[in-house]
């Protein structure tokens, strides 16, 4: 079991007047090589769930095991190390550094790992070729098209060969053709053995044949219609 949450609860600002319970008693299991669609209105706790599955912070109570490690009470530093080995992120607005070249953006997660420049380049080139963006290698990431940015973001999420990919509203700023293209790449990645979790409202995502399961979040709980 790759992701296993049990009675996971997250409370922000605990003990303060502005206390907010974002997630309460969520339990779910996600197996390897599956593709999950996470749905829920804004404020439903969807982002919080994504953050816990992405090892960004531990739950307030309950357990969360990601790739065989318990997050609860894990110190920040180990959380970071676990995150970079396990999770690849794709963000809504891709979150590339616009002045950095495409190559440098893709290899960004490898710098703190002490990986030498030739190896970084080799790994990135392989991915760029795979995603057909090799011709943009030395372009600043701010000067390429939306579709290309999206591929750069995907390449960055794969560079450390992480088993899990988390995508937060990845198609929100893409037209339907690019959205379909994105889902196709995700489907291919799933075939290669990745586990993919996509938070999205887009029916192009939720109705894609490669999606194994749709999880609905409402008011911090898993909603079963």
């Amino acid at each position: 079991m790759l992701i296993e949450l049990k009675d996971t609860t997250k409370i922000y600002n605990q003990g303060k007047p502005n206390e907010v319970t974002a997630l309460s008693d969520v339990s779910l299991r996600i197996e390897e090589q599956t593709m999950i669609c996470l749905q829920g209105a804004s404020g439903s706790g969807k982002s919080t769930l994504l953050a816990i599955m992405g090892c960004v912070f531990p739950p307030t109570s309950g357990s969360a095991a990601i790739a065989g490690k318990q997050l609860s009470r894990m110190p920040d530093r180990f959380l970071t190390i676990h995150r970079r080995e396990t999770i690849g992120f794709i963000f809504q607005q891709f979150n590339l550094l616009p002045r950095l070249s495409v190559l440098d953006n893709i290899t960004l997660p490898l710098l703190p790992l002490g990986i030498s420049p030739p190896e970084r380049k080799a790994r990135a080139r392989k991915l760029m070729e795979h995603l057909s963006i090799s011709h943009r290698e030395s372009f600043p990431a701010g000067q390429i098209s939306g579709g290309e940015m999206q591929r750069v973001a995907i390449a960055r999420a794969l560079i450390n060969n992480q088993p899990i990919i988390l995508a937060d509203e990845p198609t929100a700023h893409l037209d339907s053709r690019l959205s379909m293209e994105f889902m196709q790449i995700m489907a291919d990645l799933k075939k290669e053995g990745k586990t993919i979790i996509i938070a999205s409202h887009d029916t192009l995502v939720s109705e894609h044949p490669a999606i194994d399961k749709i999880i609905n979040i409402k008011d911090g709980r898993i909603h079963v219609p």
Binding site: V56, F57, Q92, L111, P117
Partner: protein
């Protein structure tokens, strides 16, 4: 290629990233570095130039007169009566008292100030070797009236060329002419550039000083350890005089160029104001762009320490490079260009410009002083606010 250990490779990666992120904002960062180098250059030049002069003074002024007696009246120095010499006869231990006539001659056509000096040099220590300080000629003998030895610049300013005769005005505007019998060597320019040395009688004639008076008295004692005691005795005997000892004269140059002098204070103040502005700019917080970048790096698996290391490298590189470049430029400025940017301030309206041959002194203490006034405030102003980056939560990128 040889294997580089992972830890070092990581440091190199961090350094690479810091360099490339400096380069991405090259206009701003190079600008800061230029201003920064300039400030250090200015401070460094000042310190090296004054240090060079101070150390020259130290090395050269060890044989300055042991005791100098000047008569004071109404807060001014005035001519001292020759009869004072006799009053000192009662003090035991005085080896020689040499009366001197000296003063300034203002040349109205060139606006230059010359120092006219007259004394019986044969009575002075090393007086017999004095001709070694001339590039040609000899010092005026007592019998040679109307002769003079000129400093390098005096000869130039009077436009003598090959001529050997020049004239100076007496106070009543009558002309007194002199025959040049010697020219000081270029080697002594630092001391003798504006000097006109002549016989005592000629100087009296030129300045219209009565034979009963001289300008000051140089006193030499038999036992150098007695200088202070004898000076005190002289001061007691001649209450209307000011008595200067050798050690006081030597001390002058240890304090005459200091950070408290007006020019240096302005330099330092400028530097501090520059850094105050910089610090204010930096301390006012991270820009949204910086915050976004930090959030992204954090969620991609950079630890807070990694991001701080990048910041640290950025500031260190800018300030350390500026420090090295500024100090190197300062040395070159002082050693090869005669400190030509500071010289005008230093010599003011002087018409006679000293042809410096200066060895810039670079001491560890000076470098540390400049370092404390420049690099440390910059590091403080940039690295400490970077702690704020640890307040950017990693999930800011997915919210």
């Amino acid at each position: 290629m040889a294997m580089i250990p992972k830890g070092l490779e990581k440091q190199l990666n961090t350094l690479d990233f810091a360099l490339s992120s400096l380069w991405r904002r090259k206009l701003k960062n190079l600008g800061i570095m230029m201003v920064f180098s300039l400030v250090i250059f200015l401070l460094g030049s000042f310190q090296m130039l004054t240090g060079a002069l101070t150390s020259s003074a130290d090395a050269v002024l060890e044989n300055t007169p042991e005791i100098t007696i000047q008569k004071m009246s109404a807060g001014r120095q005035e001519a001292i009566p020759q009869t004072y010499i006799k009053k000192l006869n009662s003090i035991y231990g005085i080896r020689a008292i040499i009366p001197r006539v000296w003063g300034y001659y203002f040349d109205e056509s060139t606006l230059a100030n010359f120092t006219v000096l007259a004394l019986d040099h044969n009575a002075m220590p090393n007086g017999s070797k004095l001709n070694l300080t001339l590039s040609d000629g000899h010092f005026p003998k007592k019998t040679e009236t109307g002769t003079a030895v000129l400093g390098g610049s005096v000869q130039d300013i009077l436009e003598l060329g090959d001529r050997r005769v020049f004239s100076l005005f007496r106070p009543d505007l009558s002309l007194k002419s002199f025959q040049v019998v010697g020219i000081f060597s270029k080697q002594t320019d630092l001391l003798t550039n504006d000097l006109i040395v002549m016989n005592v009688d000629d100087a009296r004639d030129l300045f219209a000083i009565p034979t009963s008076h001289v300008t000051d008295l140089c006193v030499y004692v038999a036992n150098p350890t007695e200088i202070e005691t004898i000076a005190k005795k002289i001061a007691g005997l001649l209450p209307d005089t000011r008595v200067l000892t050798k050690s006081q004269i030597q001390k002058t140059y240890q304090v005459v160029f200091s950070w408290r002098s007006g020019f240096a204070s302005i330099c330092l103040l400028t530097a501090l104001v520059a850094f105050a502005i910089l610090a204010w700019d930096k301390a006012s917080g991270l820009s949204p762009e910086e915050k976004r970048e930090i959030g992204i790096l954090k969620i991609l698996g950079w630890e807070t320490g990694d991001i701080l290391a990048v910041r640290f490298w950025e500031s260190t590189l800018v300030s350390a490079l500026a420090f090295i470049i500024g100090c190197t430029a300062a040395y070159i400025h002082v050693a090869f260009f005669d400190a030509s940017l500071l010289k005008p301030v230093m010599v003011g309206w002087s018409v006679i410009h000293p042809p410096f041959k200066l060895l810039p002194t670079v001491t560890l203490a000076d470098l540390l002083l400049i370092f404390t006034f420049s690099v440390l405030p910059y590091l403080g102003a940039t690295v400490i606010p970077a702690w704020r980056c640890s307040t950017v939560p990693p999930d800011s990128a997915i919210r």
